[in-house]
């Protein structure tokens, strides 16, 4: 079995658009974007691929600061940005298609922003 070597580079949100533009110029495709809540911060990952070479960049944010949208560089990024907005409450500035919180309709607003239960503690929903 071949396992991919992967590297994640952490960058400042200020440098995000420039870095993403570099990937586009190299001919990379956008594989995915996603968010992970770690403590009080949010990690946002941007993954790219060219000829099966996988690269990942990461920004770390407090969840309140607006993040520049990359949908002007990768048009299809709107689906991931709207998803992160609806599930984590992350705000993106300049999305090409903004569903205003209506892409994924959930009973609880931003359900992934505050995971209520982990591991051995009792489940509050039970």
């Amino acid at each position: 079995m071949t396992q991919e070597d992967q590297q994640t580079t952490i960058i400042e949100p200020l440098h995000l658009l420039g870095k993403v533009e570099e990937f586009r110029k190299k001919g990379c495709r956008l594989v995915q974007m996603h968010c992970t809540k770690v403590g009080d911060t949010f990690e946002i990952n941007y993954s790219f691929d060219i000829n099966y070479e996988f690269s990942n960049i990461r920004i770390i944010t407090d969840g309140k600061t607006e993040i520049p949208s990359i949908s002007g560089i990768y048009w299809g990024a709107f689906i991931y940005e709207n998803e992160m907005h609806d599930l984590f409450g992350i705000r993106f500035a300049g999305m090409n298609i903004d569903f205003s919180g209506n892409l994924i309709r959930t009973a609880k607003k931003n359900p992934f922003a505050d995971p209520s239960f982990r591991g051995e503690k009792p489940c509050p929903d039970a």
Binding site: M1, T2, Q3, E4, Q6, T8, R29, L30, V31, Q32, H34, T36, K37, V38, N45, S47, Y52, F54, N56, Y74, W75, G76, F78, I79, Y80, E83, D86, I97, F99, N102, L103, I104, R105, T106, P111, F112, P115, F117, R118, G119, C123
Partner: protein
């Protein structure tokens, strides 16, 4: 003077097995813009990773989708195995490959049946699903489950397949190949199917790549991305070429899936011929720590399972990026400029799996 109106499409529609809603902005009969919205079956499966220990989450990962369930479980296991320093035995890798390809066969046959039904071909629908039954029978016999197999685990697989059964499967592939050849001929050459699908919902090669299309949706537009070429499971021991078409229309997307039936049959034959003897699992040496993106080729395209662990038995995060989610921007582009009457066929042509996309 043309009138602009908005027509709601879905969430319930005869061609949609699962709910997705599209707002179609029409100018007379032409679609000017299509805006998708989902959220009807969001289950929050990713957050369950924090409530279950990492070996148990395989069952949840499998239930992300009722069609490509095995590949979801396997890809999650691949991600975790990287974090727990686990070397999966060769035989288990071959078994995973065999079950993955049977999953692809049953998924493509399911889609072909639905596509035939949407075009009004009842007999072709029944022929496709009858053939799918023989594939499901093999999955049931070898794993115990027709739809949810439950045969993959972190470190290997739960069940072995005996030499006798492998031989019977190899012989059965001849019958599947013969029957697939009969229905393939109709899908690829029938005048009615060609006239309903050729030149409809065209996605250019440039758009497919730029919009992040994956799987048959990308390969039908000339983008030859097939993650099996990265050599996960036992694919690095098998030889095949991705099926690529160039027209980018609904017929090309159908043709890719039809031809991939034969690629899968060939891969299973190779795997049966080369499968080594040996153990089928290895115990993990530690709890998962760090993060990793595992990628695989589902029937609908590239699947990504991201996991992040902190050394405990509960993962911090599981992220599942399914092919349908990343094919939605391509669908929006395909629908622009099409006729209202062609919308159902175009939507179906990306093989949307909304259960996967919403998780």
């Amino acid at each position: 003077m043309p009138r602009r109106i908005v027509v709601p499409f879905g969430p319930q529609h005869p061609v949609l097995p699962e709910p997705i809603h599209l707002d179609l902005v029409l100018k007379d009969e032409h679609v000017e813009e299509a805006l998708p919205s989902i959220g009807y079956i969001h289950r929050g499966l990713e957050t369950l990773v924090t409530k279950r220990e990492y070996p148990e989450y395989v069952y949840i990962a499998e239930r992300t989708c009722g069609i490509c369930s095995f590949i979801h479980g396997m890809t999650y296991c691949q991600a975790v195995e990287k974090l727990v320093d686990c070397t999966v035995p060769e035989r288990a890798l071959f078994l995973r490959t065999i079950w993955s390809e049977y999953s692809r066969l049953h998924s493509h046959l399911l889609w072909l049946g639905l596509f035939a039904d949407a075009l009004g071909f009842e007999n072709l629908f029944m022929a496709s699903w009858r053939l799918r039954e023989s594939v499901l029978d093999v999955l049931e016999e070898t794993t115990g489950g027709r739809v949810i197999q439950g045969s993959c685990k972190v470190g290997g697989v739960r069940k072995d397949i005996s030499g006798e059964t492998l031989e019977r499967m190899r012989k059965g592939l001849d019958i599947i190949e013969r029957d697939a050849g009969e229905i393939a001929d109709v899908f690829l050459r029938d005048d009615s199917i060609v006239s309903r699908t050729r030149g409809i919902g065209v996605l250019s090669r440039e758009d497919a790549y730029a919009l992040g299309a994956v799987g048959p949706t990308a390969r039908a537009s000339g983008v030859g991305i097939d993650l099996r070429k990265t050599g996960y499971a036992a694919y690095d021991k098998l030889s095949f070429s991705p099926v690529v078409e160039t027209a980018g229309d609904c017929h090309a997307r159908c043709a890719v899936r039809v031809k991939e039936l034969f690629t899968s049959i060939d891969l299973i034959r190779q795997a049966i011929a080369k499968i080594p003897d040996g153990p089928i699992e290895e115990k993990p040496k530690k709890n998962p720590e760090g993060d990793y993106f595992a990628r695989s080729e589902q029937p609908r395209g590239e699947l990504v399972h991201y996991v992040k662990g902190d050394g405990s038995r509960h993962l911090v995060r599981s992220r599942i990026r399914t092919p349908t989610l990343t094919n939605l921007p391509s669908l929006v582009r395909m629908l622009k400029g099409c006729n209202l009457a062609d919308v159902p066929v175009i939507v179906l042509s990306i093989d949307p799996c909304i259960g996967c996309a919403e998780r």
